[in-house]
């Protein structure tokens, strides 16, 4: 009984962390699908979400909802500017060169935030209190419910956008075949810009909802970005359910690994899974292998 209770706690903690990985993973996948590059500045978008929210609350005394909106809009602007200044001017760059540019951008953003807002860790007040809620013998916080709720909404919104709106369909068309998309009159450049905007917004949203739990500082993006990347890889870089499941599985395994085996190997477990998947199923856990015509 005690064992079951413990396991329940591990699973709930794992799912909560996993939901965050899933959100970040989705934002990786959106850019990957429209440009073929992996944006390693994604973790920095997550960090910006939390840091800007806290800055708006402490410096301008804005109510939390407005601060969150400002943070998400601000980060989206950063994403758009980033695409305009660093990605678009390089018309014929290889994906590898672009990926390296994103790494550069992540270092730049981190450095700027450190200079602007300092190196201290900051905490955001919880959205709706800190009283633990009991679920089947395990406990969680109201903030966890926010995380689950927002993740569900994002998944639903994501699905609707990419499958039921013209713009979303156009973005998917770009990911399948850019040339053909261009031929039928889709502005590929605009879709790429849009993907950076959406992905920055998603990343910052993830950053905002976890800031009350995990606190935030200029360097939190590195680890979260890597974990989100793992989730996206597990889902085969698709912007759908695969990535979400990837994130949840990763979070749960980490938590169970820390609980059952040893907390010292928690991160090792996550990266071991990543390596195994890259070796055995490079196309992702839930995707059928694709054949590429040369």
């Amino acid at each position: 009984m005690e064992f079951l209770k413990e396991t329940m706690q591990f699973v709930i903690s794992g799912l909560a962390t996993g939901a965050i990985y899933a959100l970040i993973g989705l934002s990786f996948a959106i850019i990957y699908n429209s440009t073929g590059i992996i944006n390693f500045a994604q973790g920095e978008f997550v960090m910006l979400g939390g840091v800007i929210t806290i800055f708006c609350i402490t410096a301008f005394k804005l109510p939390i909802l407005i601060a969150v909106a400002v943070a998400i809009l601000g980060t989206t602007a950063v994403g758009v500017v980033f695409e305009r200044l660093a990605i678009r001017p390089l018309k014929n760059a290889t994906p590898l060169a672009l990926i390296i540019i994103t790494i550069g951008a992540s270092i730049l953003i981190r450095g700027l935030v450190m200079l602007l807002w300092g190196k201290d860790t900051q905490a955001l007040p919880a959205f709706s209190g800190n009283d633990p809620i009991e679920v089947a013998g395990a406990t969680m916080l109201p903030q966890h419910i926010w995380i689950f709720g927002v993740t569900l909404l994002v998944i639903a919104g994501n699905r609707f956008f990419f499958h039921h709106t013209i713009t979303g369909k156009a973005m998917r068309a770009c990911s399948f075949n850019r040339k053909a998309a261009n031929l039928v009159g889709i502005s590929v450049g605009r879709m790429v810009l849009l993907s950076f905007g959406i992905s920055a917004a998603l990343g910052s949203l993830a950053g905002v909802i976890i800031a009350p739990l995990t606190m935030t500082a200029y360097d939190v993006g590195v680890m979260l970005g890597l974990k989100g990347f793992c989730a996206a890889i597990m889902g085969g870089m698709g912007s759908g359910l695969g990535t979400v499941l990837g994130g949840l599985i990763l979070g749960t395994l980490e938590s169970l690994g820390a609980g059952w085996i040893s907390s010292g190997y928690k991160d090792a477990i996550a990266f071991l899974i990543l390596l195994l998947i890259l070796f055995i199923r490079p196309q992702g856990l839930f995707k059928k292998g694709e054949t590429e015509r040369v």
Binding site: A16, T121, L141, V222
Partner: protein
């Protein structure tokens, strides 16, 4: 025109000669990791040293000589620390070096200062730095095992027998874990759970759930922000009422702010006296020093000083003390520090001797309890 040039040359020559004849400035070197992962140590250390040098020079220096400070940022990088130490000794000809901020960097430059015979006053806490004693190496922070002993003494007083420890997986946590285990075995405690977490972890409920099932009387957490704050919050979430001890690594107001006063209520930790200087009695020998340091730091930088800045304060006072007694060469400064006798510093009362190049004991820490979002001294 030619004559004018000659006169000019003559004037310049005279001026240079004049400065050379006056007592030259005392050249002191400093190595701090102002940027990088250990910047939370290096930044206040550098600020403190800059402040002290400015104050002393405004008063006319030490025995009529101004202090010239050569301060470099190592970025927490061991290789860079060695290069910069070389530069300080060979290019800048300093008579003593204060810093570096971390144990790793300090250990890397020890062979160099021993060879070049330049006194080094490290601002890192690792016990290896001064044990065994090295002729040219001193350090100002108290050893980790002093803090560990302080916690375990308190636990013994409260009759807590079974202890769980949760430590961060970096050098600070690893050293704390080792010291706690050794000390606990010596003092007859039983360690019922031994968990670790990594510095960037954001959720420690799995570790705490495991600890909960081991039913300890007390939990000791060893780390620096933000991990310990997350752990404190997670314990609150899990409804764990076990007595929690934190290490001296989080003895700052920032920790209470991050953990939240509600979750941090009642936890105890050994804190440097700087944290609670306004709660100390007037009779405390450090009271005046601490207040002076806190006031001038707040005035200069607009923020509360940290214990870490205090390490640099003490390092500089040790050197200044030797200089004030007439030491001028590196060897005289070394001897001066060793024979300096008692010094009431920020980190504690130093009794440096030939056999102890740190000179701090249990009195360097005060056991404090967090009560309604602020500190209270435990008696």
């Amino acid at each position: 025109m030619k004559r004018l040039f000659a006169v000019g040359c003559f004037l310049v020559a005279i001026c240079t000669a004049a400065t050379a004849f006056a007592a030259g400035p005392i050249r002191i070197g400093a190595l701090f990791s102002v940027t990088g992962p250990a910047s939370f140590l290096g930044e206040p250390e550098k600020n403190t040293l800059d402040l002290l040098v400015k104050e002393i020079n405004a008063k006319g220096g030490i025995r009529g000589s101004k202090i010239e400070l050569f301060s470099y940022d190592t970025g927490g990088d061991v290789t860079k620390a060695v290069q910069l130490a070389n530069k300080l000794i060979k290019n800048d000809h300093v008579v003593a070096i204060i810093g570096p901020s971390t144990t790793g960097e300090t250990m890397a430059i020890i062979p160099l200062v021993e060879k070049e015979q330049i006194p080094l006053i490290s601002c890192a806490a690792g016990i290896k730095i001064t044990e065994p004693v090295k002729r040219w190496v001193f350090k100002t922070p108290a050893n980790d095992h002093v803090a560990a002993e302080k916690i375990l003494n308190q636990a013994a007083k409260l009759k807590q027998k079974n202890i769980a420890i949760i430590t961060v997986s970096d050098s600070f946590g690893a050293s704390g874990r080792e010291q706690l285990k050794q000390m606990a075995a010596k003092k007859g405690f039983k360690i019922v759970a031994d968990e670790v977490y990594s510095p960037k972890d954001t959720d420690m409920t799995p570790q705490l759930t495991k600890i909960k099932s081991a039913k300890p009387d007390a939990i000791i957490c060893w780390g620096t922000n933000p991990g310990p704050a997350v752990i404190t919050r997670n314990m609150h979430q899990l409804g764990m009422k076990t007595q929690l001890y934190q290490s001296h690594g989080v003895a700052s107001k920032k920790f209470i702010e991050l953990a939240g006063p509600e979750a941090a209520q009642g936890l105890m930790l050994p804190a440097g006296k700087l944290t609670v200087y306004n709660l100390l009695g007037k009779k405390d020998p450090q009271a005046k020093v601490l207040k002076g340091y806190a006031d001038s730091y707040k005035k200069a930088y607009g923020v509360e000083p940290s214990t870490f800045g205090g390490y640099a304060w003490d390092g500089f006072q040790l050197v200044a003390g030797a200089l004030a007694k007439g030491a001028a060469t590196p060897a005289q400064i070394r001897d001066g520090i060793e024979k300096g006798g008692k010094l009431a510093g920020v980190s504690g009362i130093f009794h440096i001797s030939a056999g102890d190049h740190n000179g701090l004991d249990l009195s360097a820490f005060e056991m404090v309890r967090i009560d309604k979002g602020t500190w209270a001294i435990v008696h």
